[in-house]
Each structure stands twice: as structure tokens, then as C-alpha cells.
């Protein structure tokens, strides 16, 4: 079993070590021992380095476990590095292209409105200009529908690629369509209903400035969402406790909302100046709607699509209530039902209805966001890890 000792073994210079043999082992496995959280972790690491119970016997220990316990007790624990390197930010490959995509809805919407304006006068020979000879009365609806479809596509593209992409679930499309549609055509609809209409065939009058303003606001919304997400992740990496994280994120959310509101108002004023037809109430209504959509999307992006959908559904229901009340008032004996809406519209204009209908859910979402978006779960790195298909 054992090899016979040779003569030269005695002559070989004996390596002088310290009297404490474990010290050399401590030095050799310094990192393993200092980072271990448990004696068993050291035992597992030692065994992976070939230390067996026979080796442990050389250190006067019964087995590897008791040797590991001595090492765990003797080696001071490593101080946790104060600011562990934050996870590298996933920088999108083509930021320029993505930024351009965020501008696309605004550009397409402006183009659509311009196209509509170009066909507006309907001169007698206008149809001859078009490649297909459409009846003059159908040109405007055709251009309008094409514009709506293109804007919807551009919006979908913008929302699915940028910082507004939601991983867990998007916003319910019907509610978004209804709310935005109400913002664009709601004034006309209410006015028609109040004046005893609607007339057939309908000639809808769109609030072009609102539509263009909202479409242009996609870009600042994306920027604000990205700012919030990046700063939120940074806050998560830096905070020691949940309370600290909440204290860090709460002003961030308010600042992001305020920034977006400022940008939105600026864009809306610009659109109003270009296209005209935007009163103060219209501006307020559009701004409140924009903030509602922004907050809902932010909640969906950070993993709370349920709350976002509830907020939008509330707004849609409130908006639907106004025309419904007007129609109910036409029934015999129910005339008082329409009185509040008429009063509101007479005093503040038709846009006051969506302004009020969106303001309440927007405030609700903001309050919910101040609780939900300040938690750790909203900024979990896992949330931004796996891309999935979603809805706009």
C-alpha cells in the first residue's frame, strides 16, 4: 500500500511551515472562506478542491465539516462591496431608429390632417386628380379612414418597440379606441345630440388639433417613461430598504407626470396655433386625457395592467354616460336626466365632459401609482428581461 521510503527522502530539505497548519489552508482558500455564508459552503468548496477526510486528519480534524467550521470561525467575513456594480443597462442597438419610431404617429397624423385639409374644398374637378375616379362625396371619408388606419398602425409600432412596451399585458384596445375617439369626435357627437340630431347621413367633425397633439405627444411620453424606468432601476439598485426605495421613486413619478404634462401642453398649444379651433377647455380635456393614457401605460409597463385597464374603463364609462343621459332625456318623463349635462356644456363647453370624465380616473391612477409603482416589484429587473408580444 505505502511506497517504501527512499534514502534521499531524509536528505531532502524539509519545508518549514508555521506551527499552525490550518493557517496555510486559510491562506490558500482565503476567498472561498471569506465569502462563504455557511460552514457547509466551505466544506463543499474544499471537497471540490480535493480535500478529503484523510486530508482533514492532517489538520487534526475528524472530517471536512469540522475543518470547514474552524475555517469559517477563523477567517473574517469579507465586507460586502458597498455599491455592487449595477446591472449593465440594455442599450438598444439603434436608438436613432427607435426615437424616430416614437415620432412616427405624430408625423402620420399631421400628414393625414393635411391630406384631409387638401381635399376639403372639393372643387368641381377635384376627383379627376385622383387616380381612381371616386365620387367627390366619398373622397373625404376615404382619406379619413386611411389616415385613421395609418395612425393606428404607427401607434402600434411606436408602442411595441420603445420604452412604452409592456411585457405582462397591454391596455385593452376597445377602451383606448373609445376614449381617443371620444376626444376627437365627442364634441361633435354631443353637439349633434343636444341639437336634436344626429342628422343622417352624418358629417362628423373631427377635433384635428387634439388628434395631432395627442399623436405628437407619444414621443415625450416615451421619453418620460424611459426616464422613469431608468431612474427607478437606479433607485432600486441603490436603496437598502423598501421604504427608502419608495421615498426615492415617489418624486420621480410626480416629476415624470409633470414633465409629460408640460410637454403635452406645449405640443397641444403648438397644434392649436397651427390648426386652430382649440379653446382652453379643449386644451384641458386633451391634456387630462393624455395624462390618463400616460399613467395607464406606465402602470401596464411596470406590471400592473389590471389597474390600468380599470382606470381606462372608468373613464370610458363616464364618457359614455353623457350621451346616454342626453338620449335618456328624450324619453317621455325623463327630461331632467339630461339637465346636468346640458348645464355643464352650456357653461363650460362640450369638452368639459371628457375633461371631467378623464380627470377622476387619472387622479385615481396617480394615487394608485404612488403606491404600486414605488414598490420593488415594479422595478424588478426580471420585468424587462423577456420580451413578449403585446398589444398597444
Amino acid at each position: 500500500m505505502t511506497a517504501p521510503t527512499r534514502k534521499e527522502t531524509a536528505a531532502r530539505p524539509v519545508r518549514r511551515g508555521p506551527a499552525d497548519p490550518v493557517r496555510a489552508l486559510m491562506h490558500r482558500h482565503q476567498e472561498l472562506c471569506a465569502h462563504a455564508v455557511d460552514p457547509l459552503e466551505i466544506a463543499a468548496g474544499l471537497e471540490a478542491h480535493g480535500v478529503t477526510d484523510r486530508t482533514a486528519a492532517r489538520f487534526r480534524h475528524r472530517d471536512v465539516f469540522s475543518l470547514a467550521e474552524e475555517l469559517y470561525a477563523r477567517v473574517p467575513r469579507a465586507e460586502p462591496e458597498p455599491g455592487a456594480a449595477p446591472a449593465p443597462e440594455s442599450v438598444p442597438r439603434s436608438r436613432g431608429v427607435r426615437a424616430a419610431l416614437q415620432l412616427l404617429p405624430g408625423a402620420v397624423c399631421a400628414a393625414a390632417v393635411a391630406a384631409l385639409a387638401a381635399v376639403e374644398p372639393v372643387p368641381p374637378g377635384a376627383s379627376a386628380v385622383l387616380p381612381i375616379a371616386l365620387p367627390a362625396s366619398l373622397v373625404r371619408p376615404a382619406v379619413g379612414i386611411a389616415g385613421v388606419v395609418l395612425v393606428a398602425l404607427a401607434l402600434r409600432l411606436a408602442v411595441r418597440t420603445g420604452p412604452l412596451r409592456a411585457r405582462t399585458g397591454g391596455l385593452p384596445v376597445p377602451w383606448v379606441c373609445w376614449i381617443v375617439g371620444h376626444a376627437v369626435y365627442g364634441d361633435w357627437l354631443l353637439a349633434e345630440l343636444l341639437s336634436g340630431g344626429p342628422d343622417l347621413p352624418p358629417h362628423p367633425r373631427a377635433a384635428a388639433a387634439t388628434a395631432v397633439g395627442l399623436a405628437l405627444a407619444v414621443a415625450p411620453a416615451a421619453w418620460c417613461a424611459r426616464w422613469f424606468a431608468v431612474r427607478g432601476r437606479r433607485g432600486l439598485a441603490a436603496s437598502r430598504g423598501l421604504a427608502e426605495l419608495a421615498a426615492r421613486v415617489r418624486p420621480l413619478l410626480l416629476a415624470a407626470t409633470a414633465l409629460f404634462l408640460a410637454a403635452l401642453v406645449a405640443v397641444l398649444i403648438g397644434a392649436g396655433a397651427m390648426l386652430g379651433g382649440m379653446g382652453e377647455v379643449d386644451l384641458t380635456a386633451a391634456a387630462v386625457l393624455g395624462v390618463l393614457l400616460f399613467l395607464a401605460r406606465l402602470l401596464a409597463v411596470h406590471g400592473f395592467p389590471g389597474a390600468a385597464a380599470a382606470g381606462l374603463a372608468t373613464a370610458a364609462a363616464l364618457e359614455a354616460l353623457a350621451p346616454a343621459l342626453v338620449l335618456i332625456a328624450r324619453l317621455p318623463g325623463l327630461a331632467p336626466a339630461g339637465a346636468p349635462v346640458e348645464l355643464l356644456i352650456r357653461h363650460a363647453g362640450a369638452a368639459a365632459v371628457p375633461a371631467l370624465a378623464c380627470a377622476a380616473p387619472a387622479l385615481g391612477l396617480l394615487a394608485y401609482g404612488l403606491r404600486a409603482l414605488t414598490g420593488a416589484r415594479a422595478h424588478s429587473p426580471a420585468l424587462s428581461a423577456e420580451p413578449e408580444a403585446d398589444q398597444p
Binding site: 455564508v37 484523510r54 426605495l245
Partner: protein, 588 residues
């Protein structure tokens, strides 16, 4: 018997050698029905076709421990819950998760022994509380991912008796831990716990093929239905977790919390298991360390197929002094030490040659290491030729199985006079067992389970000692008689301990033993409880088997049993027997 085989990350999807024992086990025990409940740990495992299984084995369930859990694996949720019910559920979750979190963060050294028991109790209370919650309401994964879970964990980490390592846990660490816990506790939410034939409620015995996540369904089956649990570990799961966590880029608090979880889970598994079968003494030592009762530990060696090696002839007496090394080439195998030892052997035995047979190991450094060894061999040993007119050859050759020189593994062993093993780090040395099957003398280093495997049938030297290795090899090369004796002893030992047959026989006995100890289970037979007392042997194992278990060959009935029918067994036989007796009594 119906056996539920619980696997994680391996059988039946993976086909590696380490999971082959499951396959051999189910193929060997044809008398039992096996239902495989598999947890996969990687998308790759589920990607392929479901593997072909024998007729008495079926794949009952598969669930992933990675990615997002789809609804298909979950227990179907009951009726739509009201808001109050959801709130009550959240309150229950908070209570149980707080128990679990306290058990994980509590400092082991903070109190007397009573506190340790308290810690294990709280872990068990939290774990089974969560299991009950998931069983009655479902929705546990969402709750584990909620903000509440993070908040509870934070409170536990900041508690007065928390481990020093977790005091500094940051929000990011808490998030990571809750995500990992969600994955680790996924078996609680699965739809496996039914009374259907596919469910664990219908099984007579749960056999977990490893500790950790695979044993978790077994623990729940034990709790819900009283099914006995058998745990087999060839590599200790807890130790693998420690090594994996050390290699992963995790912060100290995360590692501390996860280590506490896996340690507590292992302790709970060992405490509840009816029997634990470690694969070698190393695993057994770890299990004892984690609190397993030595009385319920029974070492069952992993069986290896001896049939291919039976045909290998005994070593020829005029052997050309060939040393053979077989294995995957890795730095842990210390081939450099072997080459230095061989240089020393050559000084005494100039005719000796060394064949290094094997491909690259899994270690990323393996290809570089192989090249390094080749270069060293070329430096140490110049090519040699028999005379001036032949082409020379290096006495050290590097070959792979399947090459022209060694078409099969058996050929590799057949060419050996002595098998050498020079590992510094070793688990269960397969090549050593194979050489023992072939009746070859061996020289190996004392690493891993080598001493346990070889017993006294080979030479063992300390690792990293080329001189001792060379001396031992030289002693064997110079003494053919000793080689033969050692080889014969080694073959006898290997055939006794390490064959597939002994493995299967051991498990067959263990299955029957466990089921005979299990009292009449309420799930299987409600009538077993006469007056609240369970009746042992009330439902024997055979009653669960459909048909073919112990069925007598048709058409042959022993003569003494032929007349024992219900019609003629009663009065006539008694009268016939009684008449002569009385007659004789009268006569005496």
C-alpha cells in the same frame, strides 16, 4: 405496487450516464407500475420528443422549474373568488410566508438548542401552510411574486435575530430571493396531488431520485395522503446548490438566504423520508450532517452493467507492461502528475508504456489541458524505435474510444496490465469499477469514493504524489502473481457490490419493506380504520397490483390444494377425519 418516481432535471428527458440508473431501475422492476413525475430545469429538456418508456412506466406529469409557469401545469382554480376571499387568502399567505421567512433568516447560533428546533418547526409550518393554501385556493405563484412577499422578507431580514449576513440585504437581493423562492416552491402549486391514477394520491410509494425540488412533491404526498417517501441521492443536492451558488454572480445575502432555504428543505426531507438511500459514503456523510437519522440511511451503490466486461479475458502472464488510464481528460485528473510518475516508472521498467484513453471533459479548460499534457509527454519521452530501420513511437499514447486502436471500452481495459487513476478530485470512479469488472489490478489516488470502491483489492496512494504512484505501479508491474490475485479479488468485489442486479434487488426489497410498514392509508382504504387505529398489513401491496403479480401458472394446481374447494372442504372432511380418531380412541 404503484410507484411515483419523482425526478428533477433528468430522467426521462436527459440521457446522461448519471440518470441511467433510473432507466435501469424501472426496466429491472417490471412487477411494479411506475408513474414518472418530472420537473425540468432547462427549456432544452422539454424541447425534444417525449422519450419511449416501457409498458409499465408512464410519464404522468412534466412541469418546468424555469421561465414562467403556464396555467396548464397549475391546479385548476375553483370558483371565482370574491374580494373578501382574496383578502383572506392574502392574509393566510402573509402568515405562512412570514413563518418561512423567519425560519430562513433566523441565526443558527443565536440561541440554545431549543431555538434550532423552533427554526425547523417554523420552516415546516410555513412550507405546509403554503402547500395547504395552494391546494385549497391556488394562485400561490402570483402571491409569491407580489409586493407583500418582498415586504415580509424584508421585515424578517431586519428582525432582531436575523443572520448577520442577511442584515445588509438590499431591495434587489430581496427581489432575487423571492423570484428564486417562487421557482423553488413551484411544486406546491402543481396539479399533481389528485386521487386519480396519475396523481400522487393514487401512489403507494413516492421515490424521489434526488433531494431538493424533486423531493418536495413527495413531502406533500406524505402530508396529504400519508404516502411513504423514499429518497435516493447519488450526488447530494444541497452540496450541488452550494457549488452552483458560489459560481453564480450572487450577493452574500442572496446566497445566505438561498442556502438557508435549501438546507432547511434538505433537513425537512431527511426528517420525513421513510428511508434514505445514499449512493456512497460521501453522500451519506452529508446527509447525516444535514440531520438524517443514521438508522434510516441505507447505502445502495449505483449499479453498473457488468455484461460487456464479462467477455474480457484475464490479463496474460507475459503482459507487455501496459499502464492504462481511462476517463475524461480534465485538470482535476492530474495527468501531469501521472506523466511524471510514468517517467519514474520508465527508469525501472524501460519496456513500460502508458495509454491515456478518453475524450475532453466538461471543464472549459479541458482542451488546453489535453494539449499541455501531450506537449509534456513529448518533452519527457522521446519517440523510440525497436531498431535503426523502423519508425519510432512515443511510449505515451493519447487515444479516444472508437478510434482504430480502441474500438470499445472493453478493449481499453483488455489491453491493460494495470489501470491507473491519478485524480485529485473524484466523485464515484466509474473507470475503477469497470477495471474491477475486467479483473485488472489498479493503482489509484485516495480521492472521492475511491477507497470505498476499491476496498482492499487495489493499491491506493495519496493524491499529488507522483513518487508514491510510481512506486506502487512499479511494484505491480514487477509482480504478475500479485496482479492476478488483486485482479481476481477486485472482480469478485465488483460483481458482489456494483452490479445492476444488486441495485435492483436492493430497491425491490426496500419497496416491499416500506409498503409493509405503511399502515392502511386513509386515501387507499377508508375502512382500514376500525376504531381509529390503523391496521398494519390491512391492504397488502399485492392488492394494488392489477393481475399479474404472483399469478400462479394456469393449469397446474397442487394435489393437496385440489380438494380444498368450498363445497367439500367443510363437514365431510371433518367427519372423515374424525371417524378413525374416535374409532382409535375407542379401541385403546
Amino acid at each position: 405496487m404503484r410507484i411515483a418516481l419523482l425526478t428533477e432535471g433528468g430522467y426521462p428527458y436527459a440521457t446522461g450516464e448519471s440518470h441511467a440508473w433510473c432507466d435501469r431501475l424501472v426496466r429491472g422492476l417490471t412487477g411494479h407500475e411506475f408513474a414518472v413525475h418530472a420537473l425540468t430545469t432547462h427549456p432544452r429538456q422539454e424541447a425534444g420528443q417525449p422519450p419511449e418508456l416501457p409498458a409499465h412506466v408512464r410519464l404522468a406529469h412534466t412541469a418546468p422549474l424555469w421561465g414562467a409557469l403556464s396555467g396548464a401545469h397549475l391546479r385548476p382554480a375553483g370558483e371565482r373568488r370574491t374580494r373578501t376571499a382574496a383578502r383572506r387568502e392574502r392574509r393566510r399567505f402573509a402568515e405562512h410566508f412570514a413563518d418561512l421567512a423567519t425560519a430562513l433568516t433566523a441565526d443558527r447560533t443565536a440561541g440554545p438548542d431549543g431555538f434550532m428546533i423552533d427554526k425547523a418547526d417554523r420552516f415546516a409550518a410555513g412550507l405546509y401552510g403554503l402547500a395547504d393554501l395552494a391546494r385549497t385556493h391556488g394562485g400561490l405563484p402570483a402571491l409569491l411574486c407580489s409586493e407583500d412577499a418582498v415586504r415580509i422578507l424584508e421585515a424578517a431580514c431586519r428582525g432582531p435575530r436575523a443572520l448577520p449576513a442577511v442584515h445588509g440585504a438590499q431591495v434587489r437581493d430581496l427581489l432575487t430571493v423571492t423570484e428564486q423562492l417562487e421557482r423553488a416552491l413551484r411544486p406546491l402549486s402543481l396539479d399533481w396531488y389528485g386521487e386519480t391514477p396519475d396523481g400522487l394520491g393514487g401512489a403507494d410509494l413516492c421515490h424521489a431520485t434526488s433531494g431538493g425540488a424533486a423531493a418536495l412533491p413527495g413531502l406533500l404526498a406524505k402530508r396529504f395522503f400519508g404516502t411513504p417517501l423514499l429518497v435516493t441521492e447519488y450526488g447530494v443536492r444541497l452540496r450541488e446548490h452550494y457549488l452552483a451558488h458560489a459560481a453564480a454572480p450572487l450577493t452574500a445575502p442572496v446566497r445566505a438566504l438561498l442556502a438557508a432555504f435549501h438546507g432547511a428543505l434538505a433537513a425537512e426531507t431527511y426528517a420525513r423520508a421513510a428511508l434514505i438511500t445514499p449512493g456512497n459514503i460521501h453522500a451519506r456523510r452529508w446527509q447525516q450532517r444535514c440531520g438524517a437519522d443514521p438508522g434510516r440511511l441505507r447505502t445502495v451503490y449505483e449499479g453498473m452493467d457488468a455484461a460487456p466486461f464479462a467477455a474480457v479475458a484475464d490479463a496474460a502472464a507475459d503482459d507487455p507492461k501496459t499502464l492504462v488510464w481511462v476517463g475524461a481528460i480534465e485538470p482535476d485528473k492530474d495527468l501531469i502528475g501521472l506523466l511524471h510518475a510514468f517517467a519514474e516508472i520508465r527508469r525501472a521498467e524501460p519496456a513500460a508504456t502508458l495509454r491515456i484513453i478518453g475524450g475532453d471533459g466538461h471543464d472549459p479548460r479541458a482542451p488546453g489541458y489535453r494539449a499541455h499534457c501531450r506537449a509534456l509527454a513529448a518533452q519527457l519521452f522521446p519517440d523510440e524505435a525497436a531498431d535503426d530501420h523502423t519508425v519510432g513511437e512515443n511510449p505515451v499514447s493519447f487515444e479516444e474510444i472508437g478510434g482504430p486502436e480502441v474500438p470499445t471500452l472493453e478493449d481499453a481495459y483488455a489491453s491493460a496490465a494495470v489501470l491507473v487513476l491519478s485524480s485529485v478530485v473524484e466523485g464515484f470512479p466509474r473507470s475503477l469499477v469497470e477495471a474491477m469488472f475486467c479483473g485488472r489490478a489498479t493503482v489509484s489516488t485516495d480521492a472521492g469514493a475511491v477507497c470505498e470502491v476499491i476496498g482492499g483489492t487495489g493499491l491506493v496512494v495519496p493524491p499529488r504524489n507522483p513518487h508514491a504512484l510510481a512506486e506502487a505501479c512499479r511494484a505491480l508491474l514487477g509482480d504478475p502473481g500479485r496482479r492476478v490475485r488483486l485482479g481476481a479479488a477486485a472482480r469478485a468485489r465488483a460483481l458482489e457490490l456494483f452490479t445492476v442486479e444488486q441495485n435492483i434487488a436492493a430497491f425491490r426489497g426496500i419497496y416491499l419493506e416500506l409498503i409493509s410498514h405503511a399502515p392502511g392509508r386513509p386515501a387507499a382504504s377508508g375502512a382500514a380504520y376500525a376504531d381509529g387505529v390503523p391496521r398494519p398489513f390491512d391492504s397488502p401491496a399485492e392488492s394494488q397490483v392489477p393481475g399479474h403479480w404472483a399469478a400462479a401458472p394456469a393449469g397446474h394446481t397442487p394435489s393437496w390444494a385440489a380438494g380444498d374447494g368450498p363445497d367439500d372442504a367443510g363437514v365431510p372432511a371433518g367427519a372423515a377425519a374424525g371417524a378413525p380418531c374416535t374409532g382409535r380412541g375407542e379401541g385403546s
